[in-house]
């Protein structure tokens, strides 16, 4: 399986993965999260588990089960960790613990390394089998830079029992009495969302969605959410239109279960009014190839968020060699090295200015696109994330306080 990434991912990452798998051969690596499908974590585990198995690691993936009451609570925890105000009761926390306790009976927690993803299964640490040679790691995929303190304090009681905590960005890390590592998220270059497409595939999508290709296309792909600032994107486009002709496409997933999303979509539609050069597309969440094609037919890709987790849509765009412009929030500045792999902006005017800069300097746009793709290749591909997990496991299994490991 790993051979599929040859020629795509950096050679060194593939070598290190194979090297570490030889050293960890036959050992077990258990991942636990709360959903088999949907979301970035499941997407990565779906790829990573068979790949590790193929390299003689006994990799397993378990999913905890819970009812609506449990998941309503963990959704609140998710929101509170991202800084929203939520109301919690002791009864809720007790139920959260109780569900984990129940799950424990159906899970085989015996493994050499255990990686628990996000808060839902965090209390499972209390059921860690007694063996000194195992390592338990808690992986936080959420932006917890500014959490609701009460919520974080309650969760922290579980986290400090782990050997290691892993965060996506340094500023999400906390002052904890355990080891804390930074592992950025990644995109899979072989998934439908990112794989190479033929010209025919791209043209077919353009035809199917009636996307004219007569003018430069500016694109933003994101949920219709205030934090993604779709109105700001339209305002930037309107400024650009005073100087340069172009089209704007806003692509988002349909959000029938999200009343706020629908309200914002209507607001965006009203705001775009009858401008024939603004195209708003609502696609089902599984239309990955279609989004890939629309990204590939675009000339400039924006992620003008005003609040963001990591914002992997930026890496997706960069992987397609597109010049990018992103808001200076969350993980976006880690992906966009300002002036090197794209532009980071702080305002609508800034976004408009950078769009014009790209439109008027095709060579600059091309060069940024090229540099951006190499930056993603070296930093944000799935293989790098697998490499990091294996490295942490291996280094943690070696005694002492070594900082350099010769393989």
């Amino acid at each position: 399986m790993i051979r599929q990434y040859s020629g795509i991912a950096p050679k060194g990452d593939l070598q290190l993965i194979q090297n570490l798998c030889r050293k960890l051969k036959g050992k077990s690596f258990l991942h636990i999260n709360s959903t088999r499908e949907g979301g970035g974590v499941a997407e990565i585990l779906n790829r990573m588990i068979p790949l590790l198995q193929d390299l003689s690691i006994d990799a397993r993936w378990e999913v905890i089960e819970g009812d609506a009451r449990f998941f309503d609570f963990t959704k609140k925890v998710h929101n509170a960790l991202q800084g929203n105000k939520e109301a919690f009761t002791k009864k809720m926390w007790d139920y959260y613990y109780e569900v984990n306790k129940r799950n424990r009976k159906n899970l085989n927690l015996v493994a050499d390394a255990v990686l628990i993803h996000d808060p839902q299964p965090a209390p499972l640490i209390d059921y860690r089998p007694r063996s000194k040679k195992t390592i338990w790691m808690w992986r936080c995929h959420i932006d917890i830079s500014n959490p609701m303190q009460g919520c974080w304090s309650n969760l922290k009681k579980h986290i400090v029992k782990y050997d290691t905590a892993i965060f996506s960005v340094t500023k999400f890390s906390k002052s904890l009495p355990i080891h804390e590592y930074i592992v950025t998220p990644s995109i899979d270059p072989l998934s439908d969302k990112n794989r190479d497409l033929t010209v025919e595939e791209i043209n077919e999508v353009a035809d199917r969605f009636n996307i004219p290709r007569d003018k430069p296309i500016i694109l933003q792909v994101s949920r219709f959410d205030r934090f993604k600032d779709p109105i700001g994107v339209i305002n930037a486009y309107k400024i650009v239109k005073n100087y340069n002709d172009c089209r704007l496409i806003l692509v988002g997933s349909s959000a029938t279960d999200d009343p706020e999303g629908e309200a914002i979509l209507n607001e965006v539609r009203d705001y775009a009014s009858d401008d024939p050069d603004i195209l708003i597309l609502l696609l089902p969440p599984d239309h990955h190839t279609e989004i890939n094609a629309i990204q590939r037919m675009s000339d400039i890709i924006l992620q003008k968020s005003i609040k963001e987790g990591f914002g992997l849509t930026v890496s997706e765009a960069m992987w397609k060699e597109k010049p990018v412009i992103g808001g200076a929030v969350g993980g976006i500045p880690l992906q966009i090295v300002h002036g090197v792999t794209g532009f980071v902006v702080y305002s609508v005017e800034g976004a408009a200015y950078r769009i014009r800069q790209y439109l008027n300097n095709p060579e600059l746009a091309k060069e940024m696109g090229r540099t951006g793709k190499e930056y993603v290749r070296n930093n944000f591909l799935l293989t790098r994330q697998i490499r990091d997990y294996l490295s942490l496991w291996y280094c943690s299994s070696v005694r002492g306080n070594k900082k350099v490991f010769e393989l």
Binding site: V340, T341, K403
Partner: protein
């Protein structure tokens, strides 16, 4: 061309970032933490700056933060002029950083806080070093390998060697070229590449150009 007796074995370094949980929101806090954090953290933010692979305005994380987030450009310029590779130890680098910050604080004692989210986070790394399966025994093979290896390998041999081999150390490439191939002039040309002024890819291309030029001259019988 002289025949080499030893191979040059290409290795690569991969770093995993470890958070220390320590952060500074203004210059006074930064100064306090520079004085107290572990050596690994100082090393990461100065010597290991080039592992990122790209060049920005400054040449270490402290100066980058001072310039970009504190917007104290004079301080940033002074911090960026600290050369960690020529200083004898981490202690010496730490002292230099503190000396520059103290001098700045003497003149401007009330520095402002950065906006929330732009604090300086002290990190360190754990590093995994592994052979990439490429050995070369002469300059022709070296040139092919140089183009083939990942940027992490160039970093390891061009920058990390200066930390790994201690005081006065240079890059691994020129050491091998001088001591094994006996090409002192070529080694000197590689050593003349300023490590602070290039991205890793640019370092790769400079070394390639220098070696190619030397090999061409050698074939024409004019290499020294």
């Amino acid at each position: 061309m002289a025949k080499a007796s030893k191979y040059f074995e290409f290795k690569q370094c991969v770093s995993i970032v470890k958070a220390t949980g320590q952060q500074a929101k203004n210059l006074k806090e930064l100064r306090k933490l520079i004085a107290s954090v572990g050596d690994e953290s100082i090393l990461h933010h100065t010597h290991q700056y080039f592992i990122k692979g790209h060049m920005l305005d400054y040449t270490n994380d402290f100066s980058q933060w001072a310039g970009e987030y504190l917007e104290e450009r004079a301080l940033a310029e002074r911090l960026t002029s600290i050369d960690p590779y020529t200083l004898k130890s981490i202690t010496a680098v730490r002292k230099e950083l503190i000396r520059e910050i103290d001098a700045f604080l003497d003149a401007f004692p009330e520095p402002r806080d950065v906006t929330s989210g732009n604090e300086f986070y002290f990190n360190e790394t754990i590093n995994l070093v592994f052979p990439v399966g490429v050995k070369t025994k002469n300059l022709a093979e070296f040139l092919v390998a140089l183009e083939h290896v990942d940027s992490g390998s160039i970093y390891y041999h061009f920058y990390d060697s200066r930390i790994r081999l201690g005081e006065g150390a240079v890059d691994d490439f020129s050491r091998w070229i001088e001591h094994t191939l006996g090409r002192k002039n070529l080694a000197d040309s590689i050593r003349a590449i300023d490590p602070f002024m290039h991205s890793i890819e640019s370092i790769r291309s400079h070394i390639k150009n220098v070696v190619e030029e030397y090999v061409r001259a050698d074939m024409e019988g004019v290499a020294t």
